[in-house]
């Protein structure tokens, strides 16, 4: 784009807050009661990551991959792209994250469990923020029940929940798996701020906390060559 530096984020906010919330509402109505299933899946995933059985190394990344793939297709491509042409690129990024997660699972690149107690507690807090905190904040910000975003079906809680679950990996720094969720939180936080949504800052703030925890765990537990 010519002189792209003259554009602000506001130049790419193509719709009103009302339109976005109506889109969430119509989407939620269309997929109900899948949100209950994905919420239960989120609880099961964090419990499995906490326990850290060997089979989790494959199952958890593959389950997360399925959720990212679903959000890419059902939310970004089928719905969000109808009001935001950038959503087709968001869909591609979510598919890329799904592929990274799936590859990590199939190749056995990450293992869960055996992490310090403080990290377990922190991870549960971040996942709880994704499963319950984000919808609660959205509700407090004035959204209707049918406009709330749920883990596994909407991008924000899915990104935060993934960051939380990945805090339970034995390897201290699975950075390739963190890049897209962190980038999404930064980009969409800025976007929602520009849109004027009252809960806009929650997403990047929770992501920042997850990032800080990840850095802290990497500093406390240097990468070992025998991590696998």
């Amino acid at each position: 784009m010519s002189e792209w530096w003259t554009y602000r984020i506001a130049s790419f906010v193509l719709f009103s807050p009302r339109t976005y919330l109506r889109l969430c509402e119509i989407y939620n109505d269309a997929i109900w009661p899948l949100q209950i299933v994905t919420l239960a899946a989120g609880i099961a995933l964090v419990l499995a990551a906490w326990v850290g059985r060997p089979s989790s190394a494959r199952a958890i990344p593959l389950a997360l991959a399925a959720l990212w793939l679903f959000v890419a297709w059902a939310f970004h491509y089928r719905r969000y792209a109808t009001i935001n042409w950038a959503a087709q690129y968001f869909a591609v990024a979510f598919v890329a994250q799904a592929l990274l997660l799936a590859w990590s699972g199939v190749a056995g690149r990450i293992r869960f469990g055996g992490v310090a107690a403080w990290r377990q507690r922190a991870a549960v807090c971040v996942v709880a923020a994704a499963l319950f905190g984000v919808p609660l904040l959205e509700r407090l910000a004035g959204r209707g029940w049918s406009q709330l975003e749920a883990f596994g079906t909407a991008p924000d809680p899915t990104a935060i929940g993934t960051l939380g679950i990945l805090l339970l990996t034995r390897d201290p720094s699975p950075w390739p798996l963190l890049t897209i969720p962190l980038a999404w939180c930064a980009v969409n936080g800025a976007f929602q701020w520009t849109l004027g949504l009252a809960d806009a800052l929650a997403l990047p703030l929770i992501a920042l906390v997850a990032l800080a925890l990840r850095v802290a765990s990497a500093l406390r537990q240097p990468l070992r060559p025998s991590a696998r």
């Binding site: 784009m1 010519s2 002189e3 003259t6 130049s11 906010v13 193509l14 719709f15 009103s16 339109t19 109506r22 889109l23 119509i26 719905r79 109808t82 009001i83 935001n84 042409w85």
Partner: protein
């Protein structure tokens, strides 16, 4: 090179013809209304009401049927009040599809003046994008196509002029917004036989008064004004301010009406395109196209007022 702007008689006759046409074409419910003020497109003399309808943000409602019907209601009120120009762009998400939905629902109103844009970096894909836009609108051809924000204008302008020469388009234009690339806009206005130029103009953003608006008059180029309310920010700024008493002299009962009167009262401006999702606001906007317009001293007072807000 094009000839200078047409003389006053041609413009006057164009306005007269346009007003008469608007009267004939307007639905019965609007029959008792005074016809809207029109300005002539300098290159043809065709008259256009000074208030049109934009679609940035407001018409991008996706597949939400309820919201689409609300947009169609805005369009219905717009046409009933004698409106003609609706403006959109491929950049505006689903706005083109929503306009098409509204037009089909309203039975493709004959007064429609369809203004759209080409907005794609690839020059070779411009024609395909235009055809896709036309399909969204459900119109046989566009009245006006503009190069959006001068994106790849070197490739798209020749295409638009070729379409016009082939009778597949009536008018060619370029656009900018928020003060971007005014030097380039000016250079293109001087070098190419444009019919329209679209710029941001309101009581605060007045850069175009210095060079672009005078140049448009000199070159006989119609001017479309976008962001007359600065996307609502100027109206928000007046929230606690009292409407000045002189607003009543030009028939304005609100700050929004006064702002819109300011934009359309510049003699070089052909049409302003405020966007709204509200039927009441659409009616208020079209009301601006009736009654007296501010003279130059009053325009200065309006600008001074907003400079202080």
């Amino acid at each position: 090179m094009r000839s200078p702007a047409p003389n006053g008689r041609r413009a006057f006759l164009g306005s007269l013809a346009g007003s008469a046409a608007a009267l004939l074409l307007a639905p019965r419910s609007a029959g008792a209304q005074q016809p809207p003020i029109t300005r002539a497109v300098p290159s043809t003399g065709e008259a256009l009401p000074v208030v049109g309808l934009g679609s940035w943000i407001t018409f991008n409602v996706g597949e939400d049927r309820t919201a689409r019907d609300e947009c169609a209601d805005v369009m219905r009120v717009f046409f009933e009040a004698g409106g003609r120009m609706i403006d959109s762009s491929p950049m505006y998400g689903s706005s083109q599809q929503v306009i098409g939905y509204g037009l089909r629902k309203l039975g493709m109103p004959a007064p429609l003046f369809s203004a759209d844009k080409v907005w794609i970096a690839s020059g070779s894909r411009g024609a395909a994008q235009i055809e896709e836009s036309r399909t969204h609108w459900s119109v046989p051809r566009f009245d006006l196509l503009q190069v959006h924000n001068l994106l790849s204008w070197q490739d798209h302008l020749p295409l638009l002029f070729a379409m016009k020469a082939a009778g597949r388009l009536r008018y060619v234009g370029i656009t900018t917004s928020e003060g971007r690339r005014h030097a380039d806009i000016e250079a293109i206005m001087r070098a190419h036989p444009l019919d329209f130029v679209q710029v941001t103009y309101n009581a605060v953003d007045r850069d175009v008064e210095a060079r672009i608006l005078p140049l448009a008059r000199e070159r006989g180029i119609a001017v479309i004004v976008n962001r007359p309310f600065r996307q609502g920010a100027l109206i928000s700024a007046t929230r606690s301010a009292k409407l000045p008493s002189f607003a009543a002299d030009v028939g304005c009962a609100s700050w929004a009406a006064l702002l819109l009167k300011f934009a359309v009262s510049h003699p070089a401006v052909t049409c302003a395109i405020p966007a709204t999702t509200s039927v009441a606001h659409a009616q208020e906007n079209m009301g601006v196209a009736r009654g007296p317009l501010p003279d130059e001293p009053m325009r200065q007072r309006i600008a001074t007022l907003f400079a202080k807000l």
